[in-house]
């Protein structure tokens, strides 16, 4: 609360710099912060990744286990993405049930992976309508410094790419783990989430925490390997013009291509 004046001064500075085509941390408007991806960080999980996007840091673990399919979806495996901001990641996060912001975060990450059909869920059926493989992708933000949407999405995709799927046999109608045999997950495409903020008339890619504080609106666009747009979420307390929305879709594709190359190296 005491920092309201500081926030205002910083916002003024950010806007002033944007008018000169600059950002507080020296990036160009369509430039992401440095991204580093490390996989296999949680050996006990079926897949895992620790990513840093600037100062934002996320660990994602993938657990694969047999499960019952959802009703009416008996021909598909289960895919569940969650996201959580650990209380050690941010002085303003408190332990307890998830806020609406965290629920949105988790659902946007989930939809990015689900709507691009990254994983072929039909290949995860053990007995139709009865027994399937479930893939649980749980992201924990351990340092929160802006753009958690992309950070959690990248960590989730990287963790999936690093996963191994155990083999299950059916005995007495129940799935039994076959030791020592695993396969890669059935990945069909590489989703890339790109989040942009509007500050005044400017669109910037990958907003930092400081930029998020003064942004007018936010948009997250997920594209697939074929260059299609597959999921989108507008956020924030103001809107976008149609031209801005079209510009954002183009930025999502161009920025996404660079990120996708990083993912391809993990395959």
């Amino acid at each position: 609360m005491e920092s309201a004046i500081l926030d205002q001064l910083r916002s003024d500075k950010i806007l002033e710099l944007l008018k000169q085509g600059k950002r507080l941390d020296g990036r160009s408007l369509d430039e992401q912060r440095p991204l580093t991806i490390e996989t296999g960080v949680i050996p006990k999980a079926n897949g895992s990744a620790r990513i840093k996007l600037g100062n934002t840091e996320v660990i994602t673990g993938v657990k694969v286990q047999p499960d019952k399919p959802f009703p009416d979806l008996g021909d598909k495996g289960i895919l569940i993405c969650t996201a959580e901001i650990l209380p050690l990641a941010d002085p303003y996060v408190e332990p307890g049930p998830p806020t609406e912001g965290v629920i949105e975060l988790a659902r946007v990450v989930d939809r990015g992976i689900r709507e691009t059909e990254m994983i072929d869920l039909h290949q995860l059926v053990l007995i139709e309508d009865k027994s399937v493989v479930g893939i649980f992708i749980d992201s924990s933000v351990i340092d929160s410094a802006g753009n958690l949407f992309d950070a959690c999405s990248y960590a989730s995709v990287a963790a999936v790419l690093s996963s191994t799927i155990p083999k299950y046999e059916i005995k007495d109608e129940a799935p039994v783990l076959v030791e020592g045999i695993t396969s890669k997950p059935p990945v069909k495409t590489l989703p890339v989430s790109v989040t942009m903020a509007r500050i005044g008339d400017y669109i910037i890619v990958d907003p930092s925490k400081e930029e998020e504080i003064c942004m007018d609106a936010r948009i997250t666009i997920t594209t697939n390997s074929a260059g299609n747009i597959c999921a989108l979420q507008k956020g924030g307390s103001d809107g976008f013009s149609v031209e801005q929305l079209i510009k954002c879709s183009e930025m999502a594709l161009s920025v996404g291509t660079k990120i996708r190359k990083k993912f391809e190296q993990l395959m």
Partner: protein, 241 residues
């Protein structure tokens, strides 16, 4: 494949008989609730949705109040009987996310700075759900805010477009939402010209994306006329209030 042919005939007629650019029937009634400060009831296709607004009023709990501005709260809730399988009355994660998205779609239309330390509460109840319930909810909520006499920069008008049987269509219904290729709910402030809600689930080329967005905005503009008419009818034609 079989689903595709069901969703649209060769002549471009959709499963509910509409053309690709045709809205479902929409009717809006203003001021339907006695206790709420403002209210509206919308039927949008088979959606039946109530919106009630309270405020600006004191914030409880008090520590949530903001000295510098009013705050907006929004609750989107589905009745247990609103969907095919009875819904648990406790709010789901989907309802919580939609509540947030609706709040952020309405907020640009309000001048909250004029009401520091207060809250405006928007409560939306989906009595019967069809495809596009969040857009219909938003249309009702915007009218209910106006009915509550809350100063607004503009209305907010919402409508989805989507992709069905490889074509871009306006106002996706329930079957099309479930079995179609893409759904893009959009809300605009029609006079200010801003998009304040936008989501997308499904796969679109960049060209389709642009067409879909323009199609949705066209629908929003038609909805706006219906919202305006509903408000005019209540406030200027029936002569009462």
């Amino acid at each position: 494949m079989k689903i595709m042919t069901q969703l649209m005939t060769e002549d471009g007629i959709r499963c509910d008989g509409r053309r690709v650019d045709q809205l479902r029937n929409i009717s809006i009634k203003v001021g339907v609730l006695k206790n709420a400060d403002g209210s509206a009831y919308i039927e949008f296709g088979k959606n039946k949705i109530l919106a009630g607004v309270f405020g600006p009023r004191d914030v409880h709990p008090k520590h949530m109040a903001n000295q510098d501005t009013g705050i907006l709260r929004c609750r989107y809730h589905m009745s247990p009987f609103s969907v095919t399988e009875r819904k648990n009355p406790a709010p789901s994660r989907r309802e919580i996310e939609i509540s947030k998205v609706l709040k952020e779609a309405l907020q640009p239309a309000l001048i909250l700075k004029d009401f520091p330390r207060t809250v405006i509460d928007v409560f939306v109840e989906v009595l019967q759900a069809d495809g596009g319930s969040r857009c219909a909810a938003l249309d009702a909520a915007a009218v209910a805010l106006a009915d509550a006499g809350i100063p607004m920069r503009d209305l907010v008008s919402a409508c989805a477009a989507g992709k069905v049987a490889d074509r871009i269509v306006l106002d996706v219904n329930n079957e099309e939402d479930q079995e179609g290729q893409a759904d893009m709910p959009v809300a605009i402030m029609p006079n200010v010209g801003k998009v304040t809600l936008m989501q997308l689930d499904g796969i679109l080329t960049t060209e389709e994306y642009k067409t879909c967005l323009q199609t949705a905005i066209g629908g929003c503009r038609t909805v706006y006329e219906i919202q305006r008419k509903a408000l005019v009818e209540k406030y200027f034609e029936s002569g009462d209030k």
